[in-house]
Amino acid sequence: MRYLITAFAFVGIGLLILLAKSLANSDLISSESFRLLLIFNVIFIIGLVLLIGIQIYRLFRNIKKEIVGSKLTLRLVLSFGLMVIIPVSVVYFVSFNFLTKSIDSWFNVKVESALEGGLSLGQKTLDILMKDIELKSKSIAFSLGNTDENLRNNQLIDLREKFAIFQAIIIDNKNNIIAISSENSANIPQLPPADDLIKAEGSFYGRILDDNGKIFLKSLSPIKFKEDITKKVYLELTQPIPLAISNLAISVESVYEEYQQLAYSRTSLKIIYSLTLTLVLLLAILSAVALSFVISRRFSSPIAQLAEATVAVAKGNFKKVIPDQGKKDELGMLVNSFNSMTAQLNSATLSSEKNRIKVEEARKFLDSILTNLSSGIIVIKKNLEIIQTNIEFYKIFNLAVKRQFRNLNDFCHINDEYLNLIHFVSEFVKEKKYVKTKSKDFKFNINKNEKIIRLQIKSIKESGEFIFILLIDDITDVSEAQRHQAWSEVARRLAHEIKNPLTPIQLSAERVESRLKDKLSVEDLQMLQRSTQTIVNQVESLKIMVNEFADYARTPKLKKEDTDINEFIQEILDLYESSKVRIKYDNVKGSLIVSLDKNKLRQVFINLIENSIDALESTKKPLIYISVIKRMKTLIFKISDNGPGVPSELINRVFEPYVTSKTKGTGLGLAIVYKIIDEHNGDIKILNDKKGGTLVTFKIPIES
């Protein structure tokens, strides 16, 4: 389109020159080619208008689409257009007025009067000359009429010469020459037309003739011969107008005619020049406007590119490069500077991006560490504002991860028990100096589970400000394991220390009875036998207790063998066929064979079932429900009953030794159960059902 506009503009300028030249050439104006030129110009102007219209439409469409540079192009086009239109319009209206007034000024009254006067002067001169020749003609005719016939020829010659007539001819009414006298004897006489002879019958008849620019006077006068007055004879005189007068008269006539012709075609002249001037104006303006689009785009293009690139840079695209158009002006310099700037920005951004990626990777790494850390982490500022936490922190305190704490004080709203923790931290923070790590264990009841939380706090200095890292560990399991370990040691020592003297005590009591039974009276013997029996019975009880202690304290050593779970549980249930308690087993579908220590796991089941049976003594419809589920690589056993449940104050400690709600028993049953499950790398939980009863769930991982 740009080339089309340029071509149009140059053709327009060419046509403008042609029009201007054609005005200077009147032959061209009158020719058919001038008309064609006008028509072509009109068509061309229409074409230019259409082209400009399309350009304007495109420009406004671009403005509507907010294409960068279009508004600048519009401004430039308007500026260029106005710069051309205003002066050219002024010139046009001035020229138009000047032209019309100039044409009008050609035809003023004075010129016309002068020309008419000149022409009239010529006519009068001719009239005078005609009058003169009339007098001469009549005089000569009279003289010839009264001259004798034989002297007439000489008389004619004399009179012609005397009156200085160019040519004199005597002719009859049939155009027969009777006598002739001429200044130039070689001149062939031109006889008058018959009409003229008739006109001259009565009197003088004169004519003015123009023969190729030479004006002649011709006169006819009737001659009345004295010998025969009825004979129709005429004298024709031919007299050329003096050359100087003739030329002047013809010149005046020519100028007068030209003037009249011009005056007659005044309107046409005005139209031609005005039309041409208007076309020139339109061509000039439209060509200029068309060119202004090209020039404006040329000007605005680098600026638009620059603006577009700036927008791109603002959006973060530093790779944007403006093509170098080889311009060495300020715009070219600006483009080069911009490209240099974006290159530097791009380099800086890439470097920054690399650093950012590294930082991000480090942050992710840290996040990953924090996330996978088994300890909870809270990083706080001196005003207890929380900077960073990890997931484990939420898990330890059984909080929803979505719940975000901004300040450690918010934490106490969840549980009043946490106030101790916050006080401890606050004390530490108040010191406002680098302090070595401090730690403290807290016991919290979180969701009805008693947990032992160990808090370690350490301060670091970052950017001149102290930051405090809180490391939180749930040491409930560790503490419990330590307790079990301690109990095991106690049980092992008790078993060792108590079991050894039991047999001598029992043997000694039996020997005392044996030695004294024959020496004592019946009454004393009965008393001895009762006492001895009591000693033996208590020793037996102590042995049982010691054996249980020994079982609890023994070193774990599993003897795993492939076991069909359904058969295994059924064997245990067979032991309780005669029991008053109904035991229901929801067996595993199909055959499930796993590797486990049957004897120990049997003890687990027996202990749990015995506990349930003891708890169901006062229940009307006692029921124990056993189920086994295999999930992934874990066997989940559930044993529940519809008894009164475990007292809430004991439920968190039921797996500890000597913790029991029964009046009889050692309190080691569940501790042994816990230990066996632990030896199988399993996990056991005991819960009170909301509907009543107890639910024991233990999970054992299976190898295949």
Binding site: Y256, Q261, S265, I272
Partner: protein, 190 residues
């Protein structure tokens, strides 16, 4: 406002004329001058065939004024004789143009006629001049007329001889004076 518009229109009335010029003036052909031809006749003479016809040039007011202003009017008589052939190209056996010119001589105060023979004649009255050119005689020379020989005759004002500014308006009705083309079979003329 109206005064301004009226002044503007008065000032630039020529512009308005310009606009109207091509739209109205060209298209209107009111009071057009015309040339009527009649009584065609061909006679065999010693010098060959001679074409006679009568022409009646009606000169309208504009044209008469132009003549009075000294604008010469040159009329062309175009004659073409063609032998039409059924199975071959047509043969043009005569094609010529004859001219006569009418002009008013201000100096002589007479209408000047330059006839087709190139001779000048002067008339004090335009009507007498028209009478003088009423009968046109053209010598066609020795032509052989066939059964389907046709003759075309037309009399047209030669606008190329008009003053230059008027030639722009040559399509204007004033200057577009023509008889058109009278076409007829030679056989039918006699």
């Amino acid at each position: 406002m109206m005064v301004f518009i009226m002044n503007y229109l008065k000032k630039y009335k020529l512009l308005l004329k310009l606009l109207l010029f091509f739209n109205i003036a060209i298209s209107l052909n009111i009071n057009a001058s015309e040339v009527n031809l009649s009584n065609f006749k061909i006679e065999n003479n010693v010098d060959g065939q001679e074409l006679f016809f009568e022409q009646d040039i009606s000169i309208n007011n504009n044209l008469f004024q132009a003549i009075q202003k000294g604008i010469p009017l040159k009329f062309d008589i175009n004659i073409k004789v063609t032998n039409f052939k059924k199975f071959w190209f047509n043969e043009i056996i005569f094609d010529d143009k004859f001219s006569f010119e009418i002009k008013y001589r201000n100096l002589l105060k007479k209408y000047q006629l330059k006839n087709i023979e190139g001779k000048y004649k002067y008339f004090s009255d335009i009507e007498k001049l028209k009478e003088n050119i009423n009968l046109i005689k053209i010598n066609l020379g020795y032509l052989v007329f066939l059964e389907d020989t046709r003759i075309e005759v037309g009399v047209t004002l030669d606008s190329n001889q008009l003053p230059k500014p008027l030639q722009i308006n040559r399509r204007n009705g004033t200057w577009n004076v023509s008889s058109g083309t009278y076409a007829m079979k030679v056989k039918e003329i006699n």
